[in-house]
């Protein structure tokens, strides 16, 4: 533990690099999942089109998808001999963003559907009758559903910052380029550096807590 504190307080560049990378990769993946997942969730909640129920079923399944399976599929796609091998992305941070994005998106979509459907049924009709166009409708409904939408973001972020299987598979846990907190914990545990592994674990928890606290503060701001 003293060792971990020393690394942290002593300004260990490698440790700070891991922390920054973790936040950057999971943050980017969450952001893309949000930008895509919230409109999709909105469409699934409000729309009536063939295949909607099937899609909802797929989303609900996706919410519980094992990260390591996602990692495997993304690995198969991105590996040098795979169909997207020419992108040369395997074992990069970008590959990890893709895998984490795939894990987070169903969570964001699922929570978005639930929170939009929990709004008063007539609210979209009211806004339509008042003359709101598509963009303003989305904006106002999102504001109304912000408790649920922020829960969606927290669920997505929480799932991927704590995820190890996919990051390990597609990132490769390369020191200095794709090592993040979770894979670092696995590495240190493997080496028998249990105190450091535990300290990193505490750090991960603290990080997740800090981000969620921030989102919770936004969520619980006077809701009227």
């Amino acid at each position: 533990m003293r060792e971990a504190l020393r690394l942290l307080l002593g300004g260990d560049a490698e440790l700070y690099g891991v922390i920054a990378r973790t936040l950057l990769i999971s943050g980017t993946a969450t952001l893309i999942a949000m930008l895509l997942g919230i409109p999709i969730g909105y469409a699934l909640a409000r729309g009536r089109f063939p295949g909607r129920t099937l899609l909802l079923g797929m989303v609900n399944t996706g919410m519980g998808m094992p990260p390591v399976v996602v990692g495997l599929v993304v690995w198969l796609l991105l590996t040098r001999s795979g169909p997207l091998g020419h992108w040369e992305m395997i074992y990069t941070a970008r590959a990890m963003v893709i895998a984490q994005f795939v894990i987070a998106t169903p969570l964001v979509v699922g929570f978005t559907v639930a929170s939009i459907q929990a709004l008063p049924a007539l609210l979209p009709d009211l806004l339509t009758s008042l003359g709101a166009g598509r963009a303003r409708m989305l904006w106002i409904l999102s504001r109304e559903a912000r408790l649920g939408l922020l829960a969606a973001v927290m669920a997505g972020f929480g799932a991927i910052i704590s995820e190890v299987g996919a990051s390990m598979t597609v990132g490769g846990n390369l020191r200095g380029s794709t090592r993040v907190l979770t894979t670092a914990i696995v590495t240190e545990t493997g080496r028998g550096n249990l105190p450091i592994a535990l300290a990193l674990g505490c750090l991960l928890l603290a990080l997740a807590f800090a981000v969620n606290l921030l989102l919770t503060l936004v969520q619980q701001r006077r809701t009227g």
Binding site: P120, L122, L123, D125, L126, L127, T128, S129, L130, G131, A132, G133, R136, I140, R143, E144, T223, G224
Partner: protein, 314 residues
């Protein structure tokens, strides 16, 4: 603006729920679309408001077809049966509606103040809209719709679900409120008293079809069929092969009128007068006794006169 309905048909899960060949709501009129629950009243209102697409036919506001684009919806103000609000104050909700119509801040401010005053919600403006009582919420709901000063105002069951005192008050206030704000008003109700007190024109809708339409006095005086007559409160009786509609309370023992034989079931003491409850054939009839009338006993037959009646078509 005038609202016209042309060859309008609407289906839900393959079932035809509304079929109106032609219907016109005159500019500046207040029309009650009146009918039992499930007759398609709200669906008609939603079609006029551009919230549903017809299977065929169309609705026009003025000369412009309602096609569901935001510009055409802005001709219309819609107050739903259930008052629905966004988070925040009553003021915020009213202001949001005006903002969605792209009005200037100054215009929004005076319209909001005026609507709040007319609807009696000035003191509620800073309360959270979702914490209003049902009656207060309905007033805020009406204020929001009326503040839009739309060419056409649509009210879905504006007085349903509110307590009796508030309802009576709104029955008195609403015509004045409509007079201040609304050009053409179409309101939906299943309540006869509401229809007659609030509207000047009546559209009787049964099972998705218009049974009668016109100025309320005309519709009331000549119900075209039995379903309409019953909805209007007439007691239907057959005499010499004709069907007569007798309005509520138009019965007396003795005097002038169309005589019928009444089998007396019981006499009810209403405190300051007596009611005879009985049957003509299989139809239940309630006759108020006047001072000096002989009180009939149970099981007796008495002759009662319908003091007024209208002919009813088949």
């Amino acid at each position: 603006m005038q609202v016209s309905v042309e060859a309008l048909r609407f289906t839900r899960s393959g079932r035809l729920v509304l079929d109106i060949p032609s219907l016109r709501f005159a500019e500046g009129s207040t029309t009650a679309v009146f009918g039992p629950n499930g007759s398609g009243k709200t669906t008609l209102l939603r079609l006029i408001g551009g919230l549903e697409r017809p299977a065929s036919g169309m609705v026009r506001i003025g000369d412009v077809p309602v096609n569901g684009d935001p510009a055409s919806r802005r001709q219309v103000a819609f107050a739903f049966q259930e008052a629905v609000f966004v988070r925040g104050s009553v003021r915020g909700n009213l202001d949001l509606a005006l903002r969605l119509r792209d009005l200037s801040p100054a215009e929004r401010a005076w319209r909001l103040t005026e609507a709040a005053r007319e609807c009696g919600i000035e003191l509620l403006l800073d309360r959270p809209a979702r914490q209003l009582s049902v009656g207060e919420a309905q007033r805020a709901n009406l204020a929001r719709a009326l503040s839009l000063r739309a060419a056409v105002t649509l009210l879905d069951e504006p007085l349903t679900g509110i307590d009796r005192l508030t309802r009576l008050q709104l029955l008195d206030d609403l015509p004045r409120m409509l007079g201040t704000f609304a050009a053409t008003t179409i309101l939906v109700t299943h309540d006869r008293e509401e229809a007659f007190r609030l509207a000047d024109h009546l559209v009787v809708l049964v099972d998705g079809r218009v049974h009668a339409a016109g100025p309320k006095a005309e519709v009331y005086a000549r119900p075209p069929d039995q379903a309409t007559a019953e909805l209007l409160g007439y007691t239907l009786l057959t005499k010499d092969g004709r069907t007569l509609g007798v309005p509520p309370g138009a019965w007396a023992i003795g005097g002038e009128g169309e005589p019928f034989a009444l089998a007396v079931d019981r006499v009810v003491d209403m405190g300051n007068h007596l009611h005879v409850v009985g049957r003509i054939g299989r139809v239940r009839v309630d006759v108020r006794l006047r001072r000096g009338d002989a009180v009939p006993g149970r099981g007796e037959w008495v002759t009662v006169n319908a003091t007024s009646h209208v002919p009813v078509g088949r």
